[in-house]
């Protein structure tokens, strides 16, 4: 009798645990973002209240004339449909598709800027003797708890849009550290950017973007065209186009 009672209890307990497990699984499917705090793959979008960007503390040596000159180069990059690079790609006006693989995280914007990679399988940066500076630089990343820490150097000093939110611009001596972390059950991706540069900032310049997760079935849009030989576009960008009424 006692054996049967134990068996019955075991049976009930097993059934309850099995049911609970399956229910948890079913709930997990409904709230997929919470699957892993160390996988922030998904489609992410900035909103109007997504940016906390304090003013950068620039070195006195960074003159207004220097900033104006740099702004002209940024305008040139837009005018000629160049690759736009960092940090622009992280706030390009359209969602980002971020996918985390075994060897790298890829960040794909919905524009012609090309994908950005954060390499997970390299202990160090590519040697400066080999690496040709790029608009994205060379990014390597590792996990610290539930935070992915990405370290980037090797920026090209002239190419792309170099303006940094809050002030200043990237140079060949810029060093960027990003900390990626999921918040609110995986529905928000916090990225804290910290720029240091002995030629630009008096102190490390830190700001944060919070991206909102889009539905899992989101489908990215085809890029909008960017034609550097479109005269009407050029006239518009250069302020030479007379406004015409909408039809």
């Amino acid at each position: 009798m006692k054996q049967h009672r134990v068996a019955a209890c075991l049976c009930c307990a097993g059934a309850i645990v099995a049911l609970a497990s399956h229910l948890a699984t079913a709930q997990g499917r409904q709230s997929a973002p919470a699957a892993s705090p160390r996988d922030f793959s998904g489609f992410w979008e900035l909103s109007f209240d997504s940016r906390h960007v304090p003013e950068a503390n620039l070195l006195p040596a960074v003159t207004r004339a220097m900033r104006t000159e740099r702004a002209k180069k940024d305008a040139y990059a837009i005018r000629w449909c160049n690759l736009l690079g960092m940090p622009f790609v992280m706030d390009s006006g359209r969602p980002l598709d971020i996918r985390q693989g075994r060897t790298a995280v890829i960040i794909v914007p919905e524009n012609a800027s090309g994908p950005r990679y954060l390499y997970l399988d390299r202990p160090g940066h590519v040697s400066e003797d080999i690496f040709d500076p790029t608009t994205y630089g060379d990014s390597i990343a590792h996990w610290e708890g539930d935070t992915l820490v990405a370290d980037t150097i090797g920026f090209h000093p002239d190419r792309g849009i170099a303006a940094i939110p809050g002030g200043g611009y990237r140079t060949a001596t810029s060093h960027l550290v990003e900390r990626y972390r999921l918040l609110q059950d995986g529905n928000i991706l916090s990225v804290v950017f910290t720029w240091t540069d002995p030629k630009m900032f008096r102190a490390p310049h830190t700001y944060e973007f919070r991206y909102f997760r889009l539905p899992a079935d989101y489908e990215p849009r085809t890029w909008l065209p960017c034609d550097p030989f479109d005269d009407g576009r050029t006239q518009f960008l250069e302020g030479r186009a007379a406004g015409s009424p909408a039809r």
Partner: protein, 267 residues
């Protein structure tokens, strides 16, 4: 079976975590040869040129209707083809005067939006595998997304065709099986054609030693082909520590239009 045994089995079954991921994810976890990594297309037959590579592709067997209507498609992958420069004059340029070979440099929309990942050229390809999506990224022309999350293809009615189309996939052992529709009308290697309704099936598989990868393409469309049009590309895996190059091209730089500049000639 005794009640006690049944209870024990249920208890054990209840404590074994049921993986929230799908069979796809379990299959992915079990795979030991992955396609993730850096790849570059290989000249298997030693053709030595893009024309030679193209000649290795078996000719497509078109239906009479498709053959009669061909010519509507344009350049590689359905794109408009490379913008070219002025027709050659037939006379050599003077010393120091560059040959202008491209009118509109860096502005080839046929390469963008993942088009090159349908028909890769010599640029590097970088593949990231995630359980919900595989991304094929080219150094010259955007990305292709292959959805593994079970979503169906969209209804093509009212959908604008794209250069990379809409791709869904699943794993068959180590191979990624991809189905693509919704492509822009145009040409296909081997003299084939495609329309938005054409299915492109791809089998993407790394060799057992992981050093090479084969993509077998099969174009299937009863309106276009007498039988499915199939060919393969082979890729070499780049060494560990490789990284994606940035394909910089500045349309505003006059030198992008140029070919060689005739140097001073010895008398």
């Amino acid at each position: 079976m005794s009640v006690a045994k049944l209870g024990a089995i249920l208890l054990i079954a209840g404590t074994i975590p049921v993986a929230p991921a799908s069979a796809q994810a379990r299959a992915a976890a079990a795979r030991d040869v992955r396609i993730e990594g850096h790849w570059v297309r290989k000249d298997v037959g030693g053709a030595g040129s893009f024309g030679g590579l193209a000649d290795q592709i078996p000719p497509a067997q078109l239906t009479a209707e498709a053959a009669a209507g061909r010519g509507a498609g344009a350049g590689r992958g359905g794109g408009p083809g490379r913008a070219t420069g002025p027709a050659p004059s037939g006379r050599p340029n003077p010393v120091g005067v560059p040959y202008i070979v491209v009118d509109r440099p860096c502005a080839n929309p046929g390469r963008g939006n993942g088009a090159l990942l349908i028909n890769p050229d010599s640029g590097g390809i970088h593949i990231i595998e995630h359980k919900d999506e595989v991304i094929l990224a080219g150094e010259r022309g955007g990305v292709r997304r292959i959805y593994l999350d079970g979503r169906p293809h969209p209804n093509l009615a009212g959908r604008v065709p794209t250069l990379a189309g809409h791709s869904t996939g699943r794993y068959d052992g180590n191979a990624l099986i991809v189905d693509t529709i919704g492509l822009t009308p145009g040409g296909v290697p081997g003299g084939g054609l495609r329309s938005p309704e054409t299915h492109l099936r791809e089998r993407i598989e790394a060799a057992a030693d992981g050093k090479t990868m084969t993509i077998t393409y099969t174009w299937d469309d009863a309106k276009i082909y007498q039988k499915p049009h199939t060919y393969s590309y082979v890729f070499d895996r780049l060494p560990a520590g490789s990284y994606a190059f940035e394909d910089w091209c500045d349309a505003g730089d006059p030198i992008e239009k140029q070919s060689i500049v005739p140097p001073p000639q010895k008398p």
